[in-house]
Symmetry: C2
């Protein structure tokens, strides 16, 4: 499927009038810096200018391209397959109006004709795809930053919202695919593909339901054996399952069966949308983490909240070795607590944070570190961020810098260094929990 | 306690050098627009300029003021009480170095001397207080916007972080009090006070432990009978309780007893920091909400996620009346789903949202509404925001606009109209859940 996510040439079919979907996709491809050939196609011809670049609109495709992005009226899609079939390897069908509104026949025709030419189809009724490391933004959704997360979404709108929120959360993406009605390629195909994609470090999957449970379990098991797979299942409750059936036509099936399958396959199931981001952030940084956690904080309260959450999630507060405690006592002011949480108190500066992190990190009883920083009054948050960045520590280290504007500078520094921030103590604790499930 | 939260004159004791705590507090008071008398006091005299305003520093207090804010070294505090006792009604003691580091004796002396003059004490070892509707920012913490939430925090740092994050979350505050060691006034006193404060619509309380359980239960019951009280209890787990003991010296006690007390008193207990904000936002808007919820969305997936969460929390998906369904069918495009969730599909505009909200709101089977909007492709998010604002609906209505930058304009419009946004479907669902507990 490299022709989808790393194409060297693409054709976009549809209307290129102001505001039309095909034009928005073309604009995204051009603005995203795609460096292969781009051919806009519409029977009426003409020209279109997006992002300062002018394109001649060809009336039809007359040369081979890797991928066709198709946003023409539904009934025009199957005939188009006969036209482009001999020239393309893959087709992303954005157009709606197929099985999701009862037109099963039209969808079968689309897949049948594509199959004749060996063309693989994503969609129909989908939001398109991104291949970030191929600099290919083949969707009208908001562009995101490159990174390690491949997002596979059965719901286009969920996917679009997740991309935009991912930008806010500092998540880097390797790919995005909205697979809509899954007439040809489905979640299992993408799981297998991204399992082997070297630019993808972690896979996140939003599903309402799958059709072939056995194949899904196999694909999920294979992908989970290669890298972390995060799953958000919608339609878990009775009413939710009914809603899913009317949305994607999914027979959501018994949630118990899904849950057992996720566990059996070694996937990491999250309970809600925000957790999907948090787990993705954690796994973009680390492959896994052990269960014995040390908390380092400059404020008692948030340390207690993190402790509560860790213990509730089945993690353990690491018991620091006598050596570690002695070493901490040797350089920390006497008011600091060297239990766990280790409270560096309000005036903790660069040096105090850095030395503490390094000392604790060397302790064999500690598997992972949770570093909390509330806005220091007389110490710039940037200093604490630098301490976290500079500290020599080879163990998973999750940070919770709060709050808001007061730590924004520090959070920005951390992000530049590839350290993602979790905005509350509990979300940071949960991040370690996801990591410990691998 | 109006002299604390609506003072007409204040004196600030401490060092006014650049970076000193007393100077930061003075700056906050001046920049916050306090319109009463402000007297900086330091034996060395001199003058200080903050926020463009110059003040003569008096060597001692020589006239009556409502409140003294004290940030002098710990051992100087009890003698200061004899000096100011006859002239002030309340003292906020920021200074640390009392019972929290084992100096119980010094703390008893402080309270004893203050008591002799009938002076009430907040602290010591606290971050200070805000009285937003008295335009009084008597703390070094970040200033916040005025509104209906009174935040009572045993942990100063938690309080400070919560204020800064509250700004980000669009929360409006009536007051903030960090009560530190609670040598004189404690959580129960503040609960009773804010229960009767006309500017406070909702009270949020962060506690690790309380000393007088019986009094606390009474105060909590009284406050909850007047307005919503949200409680976040830290130190719930075994390790968390140990951490709390070393932090605030609180004997956290059995969490089961606390939980029972919260329930018995009618308080709304939340599980973590983010939930405290979400519950506060919900209660700043509405006093309570019924359990039968209608979801209106322009995207299936998020509707399913909200449904799952609502059902999990024990809420019900409202069964729309035949009349409502007929009316919806009369103006909605046929592709829309008029089940519940009601799916207005991707091109839903101002009119479609507004009419749907009004129609659903009239249904007697519906107690509350959850309105979801993912970034519309060809409809500005601002239009959907305006529809929510303009719709005539007297029932609790909670919104989830996602995602990030794409809906920021709409979210800003909503906030101006007093409608707070919840960033994920699940957080919006949880907001209705908190409201239904009252």
């Amino acid at each position: 499927m490299d022709f989808f996510f790393y194409p060297s040439s693409v054709a976009v079919f549809g209307s290129f009038r102001e505001g039309a979907i095909a034009r928005e996709i073309l604009r995204n491809i051009v603005e995203g810096g795609f460096d292969g050939k781009i051919i806009p196609i519409n029977p009426r011809g003409g020209s279109v200018k997006v992002a300062g670049e002018s394109f001649e609109i060809r009336p039809k495709l007359e040369e081979p391209v890797d991928t066709a992005i198709i946003a023409v009226p539904a009934r025009a899609v199957p005939p188009l397959m006969d036209e482009v079939g001999p020239l393309v390897k893959g087709a992303v069908v954005i157009s709606a109006g197929f099985s999701e509104v009862g037109n099963e026949e039209l969808e079968r025709e689309l897949v049948g004709r594509a199959g004749k030419y060996g063309v693989r189809v994503i969609g129909p009724n989908c939001a398109g795809i991104f291949g970030l490391h191929g600099k290919f933004f083949g969707s009208f959704e908001v562009r995101v930053k490159p990174g390690g997360l491949a997002l596979i979404s059965q719901s286009g709108a969920f996917g679009g919202a997740a991309l935009a929120m991912g930008n806010d959360e500092g998540i880097g993406f390797s790919a995005f695919v909205s697979y809509g009605n899954a007439a040809d390629l489905n979640e299992s195909d993408f799981l297998e593909y991204f399992a082997d994609d070297p630019n993808t470090k972690v896979i996140a999957l939003y599903i309402e339901g799958v059709r072939d449970g056995r194949r899904f379990l196999e694909a999920l098991r294979y992908a989970s054996s290669r890298k972390p797979v995060i799953v958000l299942k919608a339609g878990k409750s009775e009413s939710g399952a009914r809603a899913a059936a009317s949305h994607t036509g999914s027979l959501a099936g018994s949630y118990d069966i899904y849950r057992a399958a996720f566990r059996q396959a070694g996937a990491v199931e999250v309970g809600e949308m925000e957790e999907l981001f948090d787990a993705a952030k954690a796994f973009e940084m680390y492959g896994k983490a052990g269960k014995r956690v040390a908390i380092i904080t400059n404020s008692g309260g948030p340390g207690v909240l993190a402790t509560d959450r860790l213990e509730r999630l089945g993690l353990q507060m690491a018991k620091l070795s006598g050596e570690t405690v002695d070493e901490l006592r040797s350089f920390l002011p006497p008011q600091c607590s060297v239990g766990n949480p280790i409270d560096l108190i309000a005036d903790a500066n660069y040096e105090r944070y850095r030395r503490t992190i390094e000392t604790v990190c060397r302790d064999e009883n500690v598997d992972s570190l949770l570093v909390i920083c509330v806005p220091p009054i007389f110490v710039p948050g940037e200093d604490v961020a630098r301490a976290v960045i500079d500290a020599r520590c080879g163990k998973p280290l999750v940070v919770n810098f709060m709050a808001g504007e007061l730590v924004r500078g520090g959070v920005r520094l951390l992000e530049k260094a590839g350290i993602k921030n979790f905005p509350t103590p509990e979300r940071a604790a949960r991040a370690i929990h996801w990591l410990s499930l691998r």
